[in-house]
């Protein structure tokens, strides 16, 4: 599965993204399961809110963390996220 660069990305309504105080990390919750996220993965997924496409997510994060060259890493992670059903593009 690949990310369509033009299409808006949104977080799946079949999953929940949530900060866990006890674990001090963001997690994805779904039926009878949980994925613990590192900080960068969580930052990417929080921008999958149905208003941005790939380029906009990349530029927002590069601006937020005052860096550049994040396209490949973010694309790779979003493809994993798409494959796992955490995000959608339709």
């Amino acid at each position: 599965m690949t990310i369509n660069p033009d299409q808006i990305i949104r977080f799946s309504p079949m999953h929940r993204l949530q900060w866990e105080e006890a674990q001090q990390k963001d997690v994805i919750l779904y039926p009878e399961g949980m994925v613990e996220l590192n900080q960068s993965s969580a930052e990417i997924l929080k921008l999958c809110d149905g208003t941005r496409n790939l380029a906009q997510i990349v530029s927002d994060l590069e601006e937020k963390f005052a860096t550049s060259g994040l396209t490949n890493d973010i694309t790779a992670f979003l493809e994993v996220a798409l494959k796992n059903g955490w995000i959608q593009q339709h």
Binding site: M1, M14, Q18, A22, L29, Y30, P31, E32, G85
Partner: protein, 378 residues
């Protein structure tokens, strides 16, 4: 309690709230204890709210509302609302029996995240026979309504000798009903399933054939439906890492408030499982004898004690060790290293002989009458 002094205790992540033992179904593999009819008292709404609050504070995040049939509790919507306010991910584990569209909407508004519906077989005749209740059409209608109202849905089918030949039709049914997840739960032989094992345990050939069909289907529906496959551990040569390790992750609260490290632990001798009416969840989890009993590795006997795989499977399942060897500190006899491993083959042979017998005894259905009869026998 051996070895509880230097062990780092991790907080609970999973809370299974068995709201009631009442159930309109009579499945002969029910995981409730055989003597469930002897436990009549149920926690009230305030008790459950306190339990939910205390466990959430410790770090529990996945919450299963189970039973029995949790829909028989009149305060279910109120408890779901409380759970949502606390930030739990709430799973309703139901037979679907008695679940109306109105209730589905109410639960959604209260914040329920997911509904797991069980179906016993792919045909009405077999489903209604196994469930002991006419329920097949209702269950299918409920599955459609669950999807209609935007829930993720797990369809759960417990697999055993009576329905394992229906695997292709079960998979087709899951697809037709729009399941997001299909749980193919090979029967685990505790409680009622243990009592009915001779009639439920399939042969190895039957397992392998069904597993191959399920595997091919899994590839076909990849990206659309996920398959949870609960392995038939009697046909493995290493035990399951039961409960992800005793007292590390899972907390079950039985209908009467007894806290259990796993939902079968009630049958283990001498654990003195504490009740939430007497202690806080934090006290129970951190300090009770029951939850510390099998933490760490000090409690182990050989061959587990010196085994290089003990950190992977924790010696397997304590309840299975107790049921099949009479000693809950033994290696789970599923392990081929266990000196008691022969009891597994005996169980398999016994089931095969039963299947081939001309006058096979009938299934014992899970109901109050049978519960009282069986538990007063000893």
């Amino acid at each position: 309690m051996a070895g509880s002094n230097n062990i780092k205790i991790t907080p609970p992540r999973w809370l299974l709230a068995e709201l009631t033992y009442a159930c309109p179904l009579q499945c002969p593999y029910c995981s409730n204890p055989i003597d469930y009819a002897n436990y009549q008292s149920e926690l009230d709404t305030e008790d459950w709210k306190r339990v939910l609050t205390q466990a959430r504070k410790m770090g529990a995040v996945q919450l299963g509302f189970s039973g029995g049939e949790p829909l028989t509790r009149k305060d279910l919507v109120e408890l779901v609302k409380h759970a949502r306010d606390l930030g739990y991910y709430s799973n309703l584990i139901t037979s679907g029996y008695g679940l109306t569209e109105e209730k589905i909407i109410q639960l959604k508004e209260a914040g329920l995240d997911h509904i797991q519906v069980s179906i016993q077989a792919s045909t009405q005749e077999l489903n209604d026979h196994i469930a002991g209740t006419t329920s097949f059409q209702t269950k299918k209608e409920v599955a459609h309504l669950v999807k209609k109202h935007g829930y993720p849905m797990v369809l759960c089918v417990v697999i055993h000798r009576e329905n394992i030949h229906q695997m292709p039709e079960i998979l087709a049914m899951a697809e037709e009903l729009g399941a997001d997840y299909l749980e193919l739960a090979n029967t685990q032989y505790y409680g009622w399933a243990h009592a009915n094992r001779d009639l439920l345990l399939p042969t190895k050939e039957q397992f392998e054939q069904a597993e191959a069909v399920a595997q091919a289907f899994k590839e076909k529906v990849a990206g659309k439906m996920k398959i949870y496959y609960v392995v038939p551990d009697l046909y493995e040569d290493r035990p399951k890492a039961c409960m992800n390790g005793w007292g590390t992750t899972f907390l079950t609260i039985a209908p009467d408030g007894v806290a259990l490290p796993c939902h079968s632990a009630r049958d283990l001798p001498g654990l003195d499982c504490p009740n939430v009416k007497d202690f806080s969840i934090e006290q129970i989890w951190n300090e009770s004898k029951a939850f510390n009993f099998f933490r760490g590795f000090e409690w182990m006997q050989e061959p587990c004690r010196s085994c290089d795989e003990k950190e992977k499977d924790f010696g397997g399942c304590r309840c299975q060790a107790y049921l099949l060897t009479g000693d809950m500190t033994n290696t789970d006899p599923v392990c081929s290293k266990s000196p008691n491993h022969g009891v597994i083959q005996e169980a398999i042979d016994s089931a095969k002989a039963s299947a081939e017998s001309a006058n096979e005894k009938p299934l014992i259905f899970r109901n109050s009458k049978n519960s009282k009869r069986l538990s007063n026998k000893t």
